[in-house]
Symmetry: D3
Amino acid sequence: MAICVVARRLHFNAAHRLHNPARSAEWNQTTFGPCNNPNYHGHNYELDVLVEGEIDPETGYVLDVGLLKGVVEASVLSVLDHKNLNLDVPWFRDRIPSAENIAVFCWEQIAPRLPAGRLTLIRLWETPRNYVEYHGA
Amino acid sequence: MAICVVARRLHFNAAHRLHNPARSAEWNQTTFGPCNNPNYHGHNYELDVLVEGEIDPETGYVLDVGLLKGVVEASVLSVLDHKNLNLDVPWFRDRIPSAENIAVFCWEQIAPRLPAGRLTLIRLWETPRNYVEYHGA
Amino acid sequence: MAICVVARRLHFNAAHRLHNPARSAEWNQTTFGPCNNPNYHGHNYELDVLVEGEIDPETGYVLDVGLLKGVVEASVLSVLDHKNLNLDVPWFRDRIPSAENIAVFCWEQIAPRLPAGRLTLIRLWETPRNYVEYHGA
Amino acid sequence: MAICVVARRLHFNAAHRLHNPARSAEWNQTTFGPCNNPNYHGHNYELDVLVEGEIDPETGYVLDVGLLKGVVEASVLSVLDHKNLNLDVPWFRDRIPSAENIAVFCWEQIAPRLPAGRLTLIRLWETPRNYVEYHGA
Amino acid sequence: MAICVVARRLHFNAAHRLHNPARSAEWNQTTFGPCNNPNYHGHNYELDVLVEGEIDPETGYVLDVGLLKGVVEASVLSVLDHKNLNLDVPWFRDRIPSAENIAVFCWEQIAPRLPAGRLTLIRLWETPRNYVEYHGA
Amino acid sequence: MAICVVARRLHFNAAHRLHNPARSAEWNQTTFGPCNNPNYHGHNYELDVLVEGEIDPETGYVLDVGLLKGVVEASVLSVLDHKNLNLDVPWFRDRIPSAENIAVFCWEQIAPRLPAGRLTLIRLWETPRNYVEYHGA
């Protein structure tokens, strides 16, 4: 059976602040620079979700990307889109909402909810020039 | 003399909230939906600045795009980038920071500071699918 | 009052065939080449809809792009998306579904249904390298 | 010797229909939704072909991308571009022309015809938001 | 009759140097900075050619974009692509090969050779962030 | 500890010529075609640099992309941007400046200078349709 990867790109936008409350204001300013703005700043995020599995000969699909889109919308976009990651999303209460940690969040939300296939990659663009890739723990 | 337009694309990101304090919470929620989130959300903005003028035969330039970039960085990006438009930018104290109004702000900042040529268009992408164009008053 | 343009980019895909039934098979083959394939071929279309109007100081909007998106989905995407333009869309029964004519169709559908502002441009990409722009009759 | 991957992006467009003739009309409609339209729909496809090999010190090339382009045009684009995948391409007579299966087709066509290097990845975008990756059997 | 614009995007790459031989080395260095490198540097150029005309009801076309592509390839790409603009292109012997002047060159080459329609815009990207637009003399 | 990849996209442009001085003019012309132009041609290069490492719980970062950007600017862009690769860059005195070899150069410059993490991939676009990927020796 042929193994293939299907990918869906989705979009959300959010405000955030990079800040470690366990460290001094000076350390935070030096470490995070303008990303430490106490009033927050924000981004458009582009999210690629890649799922690997066998191609089902009945459908030609590894996984219907419409179903994949639905899983991501329900488990990630409904929680992050048009939100303040620091204030509105409990998962980030004790984690810094860096692109790296947002990718880990996406993995944890999506992986257990897939109706078929295995999650293999979360790729998250924070700006058109910065992105991260997470392959799971 | 040949008239030509030169354009520079620049990037900034910011948090904002669409909210009219003169109206009720209900009106704001109905009008702005998730963009009314009291904790803010945010965007990557792509900004195109178009300047028209004669091509100088000495340089082949309408305007050195390096100078144009410098004007936009000093007058717009230094004020908006990594900021909360509602809280950090005085110009938006009594204006709603919609894409339309941000474009007007960019025009007002850039037009009087150009070393050559005439500003003809501000094009501002708020997301990869939404943008505005402002040709001046 | 400041006049501004708001734009929304939307996506649809469709099959079509360029063929003029009033002309010979030979003329059609010479004129349209592989686009005359009797079994159809297809495209992803990217559609930009630009609407001009005054910025409402109450909202900062010319027109809520969510409303604009809704108008385009109801009047254009519901008719064209995942369709065969020649067979499924009555408007093309006696018109060739070229990008030019699809743009005219979009204008005719969208212009009378806008809740605010004036339609100023339909820009339609048929491929990443070919597009058309229609400013109305 | 340094091992490197060279990649070429190519474009084609086609009509297709997702339909399994061994199943009922109802099953097909439920499974494939608008992609089951009996009159077909279509897409622009972007195809990335990645080939791995040693860098030849005589040329600095793993493989001349002009040659790679020629192989893909002769073995894939000439068969799929401006075609109806269901009706015009024999390989799909008993396979559903999903993005997954088109990627497998591309691999089977290109892999045995490479003048140098080893095919390592076919990446195929069906829309700007959906793509598949196939690494071979 | 409906007036529409058809556009084709084309690609070329070239080396160039911004240098005015009538001025001092110091002036050139100050004016052009790294673009004055005596050994040249280079760019990928993306060129949009927009042509306006009536939609022909026989074809649905303003102008077959295949013909438009052919005109641009014969009159512009064959002269500029993979060339050194300063050394290989006579038109630039007494003009500085800035993006502005390259756009004027494209206009002069293409406008008189169009089989139908009127050239309305040359848009030329010199980098993904810098472009020029030329509407003719 | 979660392992993640952070990536930064950077831009430079340069002139180059593909030419092997140990071979005949005829061989070079046949092998490299228009890329053998003795007067050089040029490109905009887009460079993706991917670095893998553990997410630091103190910062949420694998590596501050601002630091990564600084390393690439100091070790690669300052050497290649707005340069003639054949004439201005000693590393290419005895190597052909193909995309493959430029990627190897980037790896050799960046890998030993990273303040944290491990370089895992250099991806280099020479044109919007041609790119290479180098994973190290």
